[in-house]
Amino acid sequence: MSERRRHLLVLLIVLGLIAGSAAAILTQATKLGLDLQGGVQLIYQGKATKQTKVTAESLQRALDIMRDRVDAFGVAEPELARTGKDQIEVNLPGVKDAERAAKQVGSTAQLFFYDWEKNVLDESCHTNETEINGGQQPVTGLYNAIKRAAKCKITPPKTSEAAAAARFYAFDKVSKKPFNAGLPDESHDAALSGLDNAQKERAEVLEVKPGVLVLRDEKASATKPAPDAWWIIRDDPGLSGTDIKNPEQNFDQRAGNEPIVTFDFSDKGRRAFQRITSQVAQRGADNANPLNPDPVANSHHFAIALDNDLVSIPFINYRENPDGIDGSTGAQISGGFTITSAQDLAKVLKTGALPLKLELISRSQVSATLGKQALDQGLKAGIAGFAIVALFLLIFYRALGVVATVALAVYAVYFYALIKLIPVTLTLPGIAGLILTLGVAADANIVIFERVKEEVRAGRSVAAGLAAGYKKGFSTIVDANIVTLLVAFILFILATAGVKGFAFVLGIGTMLSLFTAVLATQAIILSLRGTRVMSSRSALGAGHAKHKITFDFMGASRWFFSMSGTILLIGALAIAGKGINFGIDFESGTRITAPLAKAATVDQVRTALAPQGLGGAKIQTVNNKDLGKNVVQVSTDTLKPSGVGAVNKTLDQRFGLADQPNVESIGPTFGASVANSALIAIIASLLVISIYIALRFEWKYAVPVLIALMHDILITAGVYSLLGREVTTSTVAALLTIVGFSLYDTIIVFDRIRENVPRMPSAAFSQIVNRSMAEVIVRSMATSFCTVLPVLALFLFGGDTLKDFAFALIVGTISGAYSSVFIAAPVLTHWKDREPVYCTRERRIRKELGFLPAYAVPIGSAPVDVAPAEERGGRRAITAPSDPTDVSRAEFDAMVRDLGIQEERQPASTGARGRPAGGRRARANGGRSGGGPAPQGPKPAGGDEGSKPKKPRNRKHGRPR
């Protein structure tokens, strides 16, 4: 296929895809993430039970049950997915009550029925089944209850499930308050793992042995809080949740229409229920007080426990049911329900118990207002990013810039359509990725355009320069984009959920940009290369260079090294002295951002929250006009859902809530897993990138790259510490992106060094590097500048999250551009300079000239440059240039030589000299025309026959004009 037809085909594909994209954009809805539309995000960590280990299958079963529950609760477009090796992420858009959502979705729903008196343990860890409630009262305070339970050593009953294994509770030795929200862990170390050093020193861990269960007492009524009163029992359940069916919410008409949950028993459950209730009734009758024969006062009990909380302890009236209760008519759970909580329990029981214990390790609640605000800011930043990059391209590359801007617009349309079609859930980090890829797409064009300018300035025609620019720039772009893709891939595999969205968008964008920025612009530009605009050097911004760069980069490197060393020293001292301000993503905790109806000072809020033990919490006012005038932020240790609810309630009662508060609650386990995944992602990126560089270049090129990357990451960390900016998961994503972009720059420099090494066979390595730097410094600065521009838009117009992200990127990109030129290249030079071949060259130059010039100069008759060896072998043939008035023969030959392609002989010429037989069609068909090799090709101007001046030819007829 001829070149022109190929370009036409590409343009038709581009247009077709634009039409398809427009249709997709108009017809498909955009899927917004929670951070852009508001809702609740819950992240659970699976913990093994006696029956089930944490495996992919058990997690999947748990996920399926949770999905059924979410469906039963009617949440629109929920998203549930496994993340990491043992976590489940639940996104519930539009849900406002995070506490209720957590209960609905993540409660294990382990339901057990106990013969109560037979199981209650006394202080000596014995049961006393002849006495009502075993002669016991609930123990006040969890610490006291666990302390007492910890003394019991009993033989675990075979039926024990809830207490099948030992459980470990951590308490504050001084205050006796529980750590870890009063929830048990499976080992001593696990109980301490979420505590900081100060807490660990104060911690007392108590072990409750297998078979002994501590249950919270039942609530007095639905509106009362859960009591801090606990029963210690032997875990010998008579039935479990698997023995019931058809649970439903109903009303108990005998008790004033109190909400209850009714259910039926399975056949096995019915028999077990009758047997146990009969035993309870019999025992009640046997032990009735003869002086007070009231059956209500003397009857024994049957207890129902759900997830270690007593739901109810009904008595079995031995007069009415002397043979127990026939389970064929089902049974009911009553006491302490509202209609909603009874409905919730019924639904949870219906979907069944989860096979795993799920611990809520992170809970975020985004208000719809904040979500809309974030979306607006993201869109504004995107538009500004596009405009600013387009402006830069137009100013710097003029006609080429117009084409690049069109390609950028096409890219944006494609990308938006892809987001809708896949569909990609668009999150705030995802928008950041989208804006960044605008820079990536523009960078690809800059690499090519700078190469085109270079070729044109070196004396080629514009047409030849364009062809050579695309050919030579392409491999650099592929190398650089593969590195960005690798980083995106590693981030997607290893990073946490929020960062995953960013990585996915970055990956898609990088691939798409290869199509629009390289193929599409190539088709447009090369189709237009005969036009007046594309033939003009000045219209392409490729006029003669005003200044030739002669700066001694390698000579000055020691001063740049010193500057970097000093910056790193300051950074290290700052990190040591001030530390790094890690956000709650890493440190764990709860952050509530609440818009208040009435103005409140920090002290007033502190006083209001003090009774809940939050007097020492970090409380600050927040300036956010979209949220309201009086916004306060409360940051504290991780609170349980009930704790968050209590804070919200207090703020509402005291100051009034203008809108739903924004809540972020990260458990210690989640913080640790975020930090670990970030560290692994960074190490994995460095390793993979090193391997790629070593394979594509040479292993010695990989080491300076690694050193430069460390330099960039450490400088960014130092700046964060110095300024006290908060480090969040977004910052980690930004750091990894810095890795990608820093490499982009370094690859541009190294690619040119690699290209110049065979061209300068007698130069010292420092001279090769100086020459390479002088050639690419403008290109390198332009790509970095172009990347910083959209990032700057993010920083100026993005919300708080995007601002943090953009700040890290600005620091990292500037550091990356600097380190590519002034760290990576000098390290490579110093290292390669020691190789025998370069030592010999340097000695020879010093011997001849008495010194080592910064740039290579001819010594004797030896030229500085030689043409690189041409590649041989079966490369594709090309035809003669499509229009001799565009490209001279000499230029064409130079292009063939540069491209390393063997020219195919032209058919025998007839008519006008220098033109192939058969005119344009024959030229276009080239080797396919069947004409054998011509006895002679077109002679170059200046050759034997070329000494005679050629007359311009009529384009149409090939005759002299």
Partner: protein, 88 residues
């Protein structure tokens, strides 16, 4: 956190080896590794073979890395001299 500080100090000090004639074993990269590992190993040893966390890292942690980095650079330099490396 102390590990980050030690490594950062080691790398910071390495930058100034550019003023020393390059007779390092392994060249400038050898000096880099010497500074990095020297800083980390001595920092680790000074702290009783533990790595202080964020709360326990103070300004002294940065200073602890200095002798290690210098010693690491010196070791690599004299190893290069013993091997007969000439300044490049």
């Amino acid at each position: 956190m102390a590990m980050l500080v030690w490594a950062m100090m080691g790398i910071a000090l390495w930058h100034f080896t550019i003023f020393i004639p390059d007779r390092f074993w392994g060249g400038i990269v050898g000096a880099f590794l010497g500074a990095l590992f020297g800083a980390v190993i001595i920092g680790f040893a000074v702290n009783g073979f533990t790595v202080p966390g964020q709360a326990d890292t103070h300004l002294a942690a940065a200073l602890e890395a200095v002798p290690g980095a210098l010693a690491g650079i010196a070791v690599v330099y004299f190893a290069g001299v013993r091997r007969g490396n000439e300044a490049a």
